[in-house]
């Protein structure tokens, strides 16, 4: 009787008793509104930074684009972050965990864009203009994520917001996704405004530039030229600045000048955000090592420019050595390999491109506004990765705690935006299109435009006494240099290497030009002259290493749906 009564009492409220609400989260209904969709769109932007915990996912492709492109060697020592070791030797196997994380991170981006589009279709309170803009931003971002996947893995599964979640894992991978990527860029170009109040948003002209880049990757030069011509003539940034090259090359990589006129599409970076993932967390391991308070960051020197890249900056009559002879003993840059920091060293006195000392930290040259690079003392293991430090996307001493976020384990998470596409990149891509589908003269003009900026003496690296820190000699290409398509191509390719070094483009450029195998094997050979332990016996295999393997994890999880890339 008593039991029965007690039971009754509890049973009567039983159903609701077993409904416990989840905490700290939201459901579909709360987000299928204008405010909700705008929030989810910001979530999609957040994926640009590759914020999912693996530094290799950073937007700057410092491993997959730069290290694997031969611009830089993986630094510190062999046992540290050893999963990169096989990658830089082109011995990556499909079980490599970082590449699996990269795959997932970029598909997370795709998935967030699809969620924006799906919720947008459900939301009732969005005006037509807003809907067009929101969809345009989401589709440009989605195009970007797919482009990244495409250039890494070549053959990828493609799906959009209309694909039901249960169908997504059943979609096989295919190299034929350019049409779909282009459709996103086209939609974005048609629907996005030129300018918006919020400088962090992508705009119409970013879509146009990305479309040109997509055409270039497909060798559709004439179409590419049309898009680039339009961008160069009419393009402006979201905050309304007409696209142009900055006078000072270093300002591109300096947080004080973020959202500048050269930034066509970039990833916003910020401090005081509650999490350093909103700053350049992917670079925190890449600053010089053991600098104390004399240099930036605390760690660890993972990103060390290669001998090959440093030597490339050698000039003769102000022009680079297009025949590759910059690695010859006679031309190679003098370096401090094996020289103690306490021992005397005089930097190379020969002629070099001024961008050398904007791009590479080397012994004896002022390291931004820190001390002069002391050489070996800032390098974890010279015998492992050489004597150089990175210099682009490094913060200044004067910016510490003003434009850096020191709230995590190293003191300086830089906050300059990483630029996915910058105007100099557009000019050089346009030059490629001109060579194939336009005029060599126009191509020369574009290349010289980029070189002229570098030649601006006012912004060269200076010693304390105001004199140039090294023997900088740079000149414009004469008409005679652009005598043939082949010669012009060599020049443009060289200029991309010099201008865009360390920015994550090199590997993908080499692959699309079809010259990855000879160039990278030459690079390996050159580095192995000194860095034997690291590169001895390494080899780039044509027909295989142009693309990264489809992660084994994904093949395992999707059964027979995904096909591995050739050679793996």
């Amino acid at each position: 009787m008593i039991m029965a009564m007690v039971m009754l009492l509890v049973v009567s409220c039983k159903d609701s008793f077993l409904e416990v609400a989840p905490t700290g989260s939201l459901a579909d209904a709360q987000l299928a509104t204008k405010a909700g969709v705008e929030g989810v769109l910001i979530g999609a932007y957040a994926a640009l930074n590759g914020v999912f915990g693996n530094r290799l996912e950073g937007p700057n492709h410092w491993v997959t684009g730069s290290i694997c492109g031969g611009e830089a060697n993986k630094g510190t020592d062999p046992g540290d972050y050893s999963s990169i070791n096989p990658m830089q030797r082109y011995e990556t196997d499909p079980t490599q965990g970082d590449l699996s994380a990269f795959w997932r991170g970029r598909y997370e981006g795709v998935s967030r864009c699809n969620t924006v589009l799906r919720l947008l279709a459900q939301a009732k309170d969005v005006s037509a203009a807003d809907a067009a803009r929101i969809a345009g931003e989401a589709r440009l971002l989605r195009g970007h994520f797919y482009f990244d996947l495409k250039k890494h893995y070549n053959s990828i599964p493609y799906f959009d917001e209309k694909t039901p979640a249960s169908e997504v894992p059943k979609i096989p991978n295919t190299p034929n996704v350019w049409d779909k990527i282009e459709a996103d860029f086209q939609f974005a170009f048609t629907n996005l405004p030129e300018t918006q109040g919020q400088a962090g948003r992508v705009n119409k002209w970013a879509a146009a530039a990305y479309m040109g880049k997509a055409k270039l990757y497909q060798k559709k030069y004439a179409e590419a030229k049309t898009w680039f011509d339009n961008v160069i003539a009419n393009g402006k940034t979201t905050n309304g600045k007409k696209y142009q090259l900055l006078d000072d090359y270093t300002q591109i990589f300096n947080a004080e000048f973020d959202n500048h006129a050269e930034a066509v599409m970039d990833v916003e970076s910020s401090m005081n955000t509650g999490n350093v993932a909103n700053a350049n967390y992917f670079d925190d391991l890449n600053y010089p090592y053991n600098t104390g308070l004399d240099g930036p960051g605390n760690c660890c020197g993972f990103f060390q420019p290669s001998f090959d890249l440093a030597n490339t900056f050698r000039t003769k009559n102000g022009l680079p050595l297009l025949d590759g002879s910059y690695n010859n003993d006679a031309n190679a840059l003098k370096h401090d390999y094996g020289v103690e920091s306490s021992a005397p060293f005089t930097p190379d006195a020969g002629p070099v491109d001024p961008r050398l000392d904007h791009s590479i930290g080397r012994r004896g040259i002022p390291y931004l506004d820190w001390i002069a690079h002391p050489g070996k003392a800032w390098i974890r293991a010279q015998p492992y990765a050489g004597p150089y430090s990175p210099k682009k996307y490094v913060y200044y001493k004067s910016q510490e705690n003003k434009l850096t976020d020191g709230s995590s384990w190293t003191r300086g998470y830089a906050t300059m935006n990483y630029t996915i596409i910058r105007f100099a990149d557009v000019l050089l891509m346009a030059a490629e299109a001109e060579i194939e589908a336009g005029s060599l003269a126009k191509a020369r003009e574009l290349v010289n435009q980029v070189r002229a900026r570098a030649a601006n003496k006012a912004h060269w690296v200076k010693k304390a006494d105001g004199t140039p820190a090294a023997n900088y000699v740079i000149s414009l290409y004469p008409e005679s240099a652009f005598s043939s398509k082949a010669a012009a191509n060599d020049i443009v390719r060289m200029e991309r290497k010099l201008e865009l070094s360390g920015e994550g483009h090199r590997f993908f450029d080499l692959v699309r030009w079809g010259i990855a195998e000879p160039v990278l094997n030459a690079y390996l050979k050159n580095e192995a002259k000194i860095l034997v332990t690291k590169f001895g016996g390494a080899k780039f295999t044509a027909g295989k290493n142009e693309y990264y393997p489809i992660p084994q994890r994904e093949i395992d999880l999707q059964g027979t749906v995904l096909k591995q890339n050739p050679g793996y």
């Binding site: 008593i2 077993l18 700290g24 957040a46 914020v51 997932r104 605390n298 974890r380 705690n401 994904e554």
Partner: protein, 1077 residues
């Protein structure tokens, strides 16, 4: 909270109504007193149990063997005492009973299951009890650690940190996570018993199989550990006071720590590596170490570091450096080599004192009884700044309000502080973390702890890679930290006896806890990767859980038929609460009176809330026996949980079991050596849902600053909120169900000199809940749901052997062996998931979970030796092959070494665990030795990755296996590969069997002697007890394992047995004192 109080109020009102209702039908209770004595010699039996059958009402006899209990006519009293045959007495007119027990069946201990108290004689399930004394014998922060070796079938993996959590596994590992047993303290279920003072414990019962545990249904699959705390006596008597004290220290066992290269050896072997590098690469040797010079014979410099200069030979300008130091003391260092070599393990450890004091007050009147316990334990860890403190206050009381109504409560208030603890999951994760213990093995011996100015010395001295001075890290970064947890745990209950044979119990229990922490870290620029900010964080939170249990028990003896029926309902919440914390950097001053979250730069805040999980359950149990010869028990429980969606919210868990007391049969009456034989068998199902997020059924979105925010305005400071899909829901998930089969027997032979309890068991867990990894195309942010896939098999044999007897008239002994064999196997995973891997440690991913293999098995290449010649290496198709490097087995026989050649190389799960306790008594002097063994488990000694390869953080400290690294002469006898810089899968770049070591060990956990003073003396002093003892714990370990300590736990069930830098269990020496009056 408000809701909760409403609920309580409602419940109270309900009871008030019920009580008035019940006044009408009350039976008369009477005070029954009695005395229990030994049938042979009439000596009083102290501490014998007297319980009213079918209830949880009971008492124990006092020093005179006397007891007092409130019972009514017709109640059956069960009187039992360890080592004696139990008796039952039916209460009649006689209110003063004289009961004599004869030595006999000893398997007759009290089993407290939380819902009922029964005697072991009647049980049909697999149940173990642990004497409360044993739980208090070895002082540990968390009492459950003491189950190690005390219960056959319980695996305990722990470490040496005071107050650490442990992996407690009853009968194997049923699931991929959430395998901890359910704890019941005085009837209140909890997932955590770290608050208990061992001296307050009265009984410990472990319910191992479905027959015994499935009364706890959905939460019982991992076994149930039931604690009851002490209570007072049921008769008027003077207050009894007991003090137990213990003081001693733990020794870090520096002698037993792994040996590191001394400064000269380190220099020599650095140069060996340079020569090996050159030979491997075919280049000239280059000696490039910044300290040891460029010549072939390494030199030890005069200064390792002198204000920026490294490897200085000869004098430096001391005056200038001193001036520089004075100008900038945090950034100027002058470091001399420590030629003798620093023993960093010694430097980070200490002789750690411990003390524990417990005071118990117990007493009673005819109508009430109480126990008050006060406890204090202060225990230092062997690691600097590692402290454990617990202060507890317990008040248990019970009052007979009316003849048919009893009210009682158990309440403990606890203050608990654990400081400087490392390792996730409450400390157990330390084994696979890169802890400060590992740091001690990464710091070169040549570096001193302090430099010439008295600053901490570290790797600002070039050439030693990136380790950080662990003494500095512990002292500076833990020294000012604080934190504590305050908690109240307990219940209040009513016992109602409305009619004969029926007892109704209603209990409301709860657990409230509140915690706070503060954490200061300080700038230090002397590391190669310096900590360049002062940082501060603090936070706090609270949680509250409650449980309401109502049971009715009917117990009757109808002729030869004994019947006990139990029915109950239970509603509970596992805990709801909130927390907040924040952090920031670089306050203007580091004055402790200044720093708070409002005075730091870049403050970051975080907070959260959780609602817990609600359970609603009904259950019943029926015990039947015929002439105490044949026993049958049936259990049924239905649980509903808010963890699951409406589709499959309820689970039903049945169990049946039976026993046959063979010795009650006439045909065995004449076999005198066989005192008792009971054969038991049981089958049942139990549930588990621990491994499931409470939000598993929901599709959710979330914002978080790290992954969904973006500075959309292009700002360089601050960020805008965004959202992303954060959880994919599975509304169809349901309980994991483990089906167990148990067959066992209890036998007692030769006048109980030999007792054996043996159980064969098999536990099959199906519908295993597992968070199936989503394919990458689904993204990587949203949590994938747990779905019911997979199954796991555990089976084993548990057996306990007790042998006791006399050697001569005064010398008695007792030997207890608790042993268990365990087999664990994953039998199924989801379709399309052939396996899943565990975590990765510095690029080494050594764990794979795959059907056909055990949980969390080690996976990697099988090392079959080294490449002993260049020809052999050149001919190999193994990537990175080279002279003196690992040579792997071509498992799939395709002629080359690829990831497909990786295979299973060992399991961390012990095949056999056992404890042996041997007591000897001579007059008043007692000696005890207690051994524990674990056999057949492997350890993945990941710490070798740091110490045994020159190329792992080149320049950091290395172990003495370097001296036996590969040379042509050593060949396959080498202990480590060739000493060189290279890093690839043939060296330190892949998991392989070289890391796997036998983790078997045998340890003397305790060696103790104590002296109980004579009762004649006690009487003169008016004392009831006086005892003095000494003990030594963990003084000897037999193992082949080369790491610090063979007991290696881990943060998760899918990740354990990995030793990155374990916190060892080391010797402790203790003085014990007990006095009662």
């Amino acid at each position: 909270m408000v809701q909760f109080f409403e609920k309580v109020t409602r419940t109270m009102n309900k009871y008030a109504m019920l009580f008035s209702f019940l006044f009408i039908s009350s039976a008369m209770f009477a005070q029954i007193t009695g005395k229990v004595v030994d049938a042979d010699n009439g000596e009083p039996l102290i501490g014998a149990s007297v319980i009213i059958a079918g209830t949880s009402t009971g008492t124990v006899t006092d020093l005179d063997g006397s007891f007092s209990i409130n019972a009514k006519s017709g109640d059956i009293l069960e009187i039992s005492y360890t080592g004696y045959t139990a008796k039952t007495v039916t209460v009649g007119a006689e209110t003063n009973l004289s009961i004599s027990l004869s030595q006999g069946v000893t398997i007759d201990e009290i089993i407290v299951t939380g819902y009922a108290v029964e005697s072991k004689r009647q049980t049909t399930g697999a149940v173990s009890t642990v004497p409360a004394k044993q739980m208090a014998a070895i002082p540990s922060g968390n009492v459950e650690q003491q189950l190690q070796g005390r219960v056959a079938g319980v695996t305990v993996l722990t470490n040496g940190q005071p107050g650490t959590t442990s992996q407690i596994r009853v009968r194997g590992f049923g699931a991929f996570g959430g395998n901890a047993p359910l704890y019941i303290v005085d009837g209140v279920p909890t997932e955590n018993t770290d608050f208990i003072n061992p001296d307050d414990i009265e009984t410990v019962t472990v319910l191992k199989d479905a027959a015994s545990a499935s009364i706890y249904g959905a939460r019982a699959a991992n076994g149930v550990v039931v604690y009851t705390t002490k209570s007072g006596s049921r008769k008027a008597k003077k207050m009894e006071v007991t003090y137990s004290g213990l003081t001693g220290f733990t020794d870090p066992n520096v002698k037993g720590s792994p040996k590191m290269l001394d400064p000269q050896q380190m220099a020599d072997w650095t140069h060996v590596a340079y020569r090996n590098n050159a030979a491997a690469n075919g280049t000239a040797v280059a000696y490039t170490h910044p300290q040891y010079g460029n010549q072939a014979t390494p030199r030890i410099p005069t200064y390792l570091h002198a204000n920026g200069a490294n490897g200085v030979v000869g004098n430096v300008d001391l005056a200038a450096i001193e001036a520089a130091y004075k100008a900038n003391p945090s950034n100027v260092f002058l470091i001399k080599p420590n030629l003798e070599g620093t023993n960093w393990y010694d430097a980070i450890t200490r002789i750690a004192p411990i003390q524990r004091h417990s005071l118990g007050f117990s007493g009673g009147t005819e109508n009430g009884r109480y126990f008050i316990g006060l406890g204090a334990q202060n225990q230092s860890g062997i690691l600097l700044e590692n402290e454990f403190k617990r202060y507890s206050f317990r008040a248990n009381s019970e009052w007979d309000l009316l003849p048919w109504l009893t009210m009682g409560e158990n309440l403990q208030v606890t203050y608990r502080a654990v400081l400087g603890q490392q390792g996730d999951a409450g400390g157990i994760g330390i084994a696979d973390d890169e802890s400060e213990v590992l740091s001690a093995y990464r710091m070169p011996t040549i570096l001193p702890v302090f430099d010439e100015f008295g600053s901490y010395a570290s790797t600002k001295a070039a050439g030693f890679n990136n380790p950080r001075n662990p003494v500095r890290r512990l002292v500076l970064n833990n020294g000012d930290d604080g934190g504590f947890n305050t908690a109240a745990f307990g219940n209040i209950y009513f016992l109602i006896k409305p009619v004969k044979n029926l007892t109704i119990k209603s209990s409301l229990g709860g657990n409230y806890n509140n915690n706070y922490y503060k954490n200061y870290n300080y700038i230090y620029l002397g590391d190669s990767e310096p900590e360049a900010s002062n940082t501060f964080s603090e936070g706090g939170g609270y949680g509250f859980s409650w449980v309401l249990t109502n049971t009715a028990t009917y117990k009757a003896q109808l002729g030869s038929h004994g019947i006990t029926a139990l029915a109950g309902i239970e509603a509970l919440n596992t805990g709801a609460g909130r927390f907040f914390n924040g952090s920031g950097i670089n306050p203007f001053s580091t004055d402790l009176n200044f720093v708070n979250l409002a005075t730091v730069q870049s403050p970051q805040v975080n907070s959260g809330l959780y609602n817990g999980v609600n359970f609603y359950s009904i259950f019943g149990k029926l015990d039947y026996n015929f002439k105490e010869k044949y026993y049958v028990t049936g259990v049924l429980r239905r649980d509903g949980s808010s963890r699951f969606g409406a589709n499959s919210r309820f689970g039903v868990f049945p169990a049946v079991s039976a026993a046959w007391r063979v010795t009650s049969e006439d045909f065995l009456k004449d076999i005198s050596w066989l005192r008792d034989l009971k054969i038991r068998g049981g089958w049942g199902e139990m549930g588990n849902s621990n491994n499931v997020d409470p939000s598993n059924q929901f599709f959710l979105y979330r914002s978080d600053r790290g992954s969904t925010f973006y500075p959309i305005n292009g700002q360089s400071s601050g960020v805008d909120e965004g959202f992303a899909s954060s959880r994919i829901g599975n509304p169809d998930a349901k309980w994991e169900t483990s089906e167990t089969l148990n067959i066992g027997f209890d036998v007692s032979l030769f006048d109980n000199k030999l007792e054996i309890i043996l159980d064969w068991w098999k536990k099959t867990t199906r519908d295993l809940l597992f968070t199936v990894p989503l394919p990458g195309v689904a993204g990587n942010y949203a949590a994938s749901p747990a779905i019911n896939v997979g199954s796991m098999l555990n089976r084993g044999i548990d057996f306990q052997i007790i042998n006791r007897g006399n050697l001569g008239s005064k010398l008695t002994y007792e030997l207890t062996l608790n042993n268990a064999f365990l087999h664990n196997e994953i039998t199924k995973l989801a379709d399309g998931i052939p396996y899943f891997d565990g975590g990765s440690y510095r690029g080494i991913a050594p764990i794979r979970n795959q059907p056909g293999y055990g949980l969390s098995e080690f996976f990697g290449y099988k090392m079959i030796g080294y490449f002993n010649s260049k020809a052999e290496a050149d001919a190999s198709k193994q990537p990175g092959a080279g002279v003196g490097r690992f040579k792997y087995e071509d498992v799939n026989g395709d002629g080359s070494i690829t990831p497909a050649d990786r295979t299973f190389i060992g399991s961390p799960i012990p095949k056999f665990t056992g404890g042996a306790n041997f007591n000897v008594g001579y007059k008043n002097l007692h000696a005890e030795i207690y051994l524990y063994t674990s056999i057949g488990n492997k350890i993945f000694n990941q710490s070798k990755w740091f110490t045994d390869f020159f190329g792992s953080f080149e320049g950091s400290a290395k172990g003495i296996r370097a001296l036996e690294s590969w040379t042509p002469a050593l060949g396959n006898e080498a202990k480590a590969p060739i000493w060189e810089s290279a890093s690839n899968i043939s060296t330190n770049g892949a998991a392989n069997s070289w890391y796997v070591e036998d983790g078997s060990f045998l340890r003397i956990q305790r060696l103790a002697m104590y002296y109980d003073f004579d009762s004649s003396l006690l009487k003169r002093l008016k004392l009831s007890r006086l005892s003095l003892g000494v003990s030594a714990n963990n003084i000897w370990t037999l193992t082949k394992y080369t790491g610090l300590d063979p007991m290696v736990g881990g943060g998760a069930d899918t990740n354990f047995g990995i030793d990155v830098g374990n916190y060892p269990v080391t010797p402790a020496y203790m003085l014990n004192f007990t006095i009662g009056f």
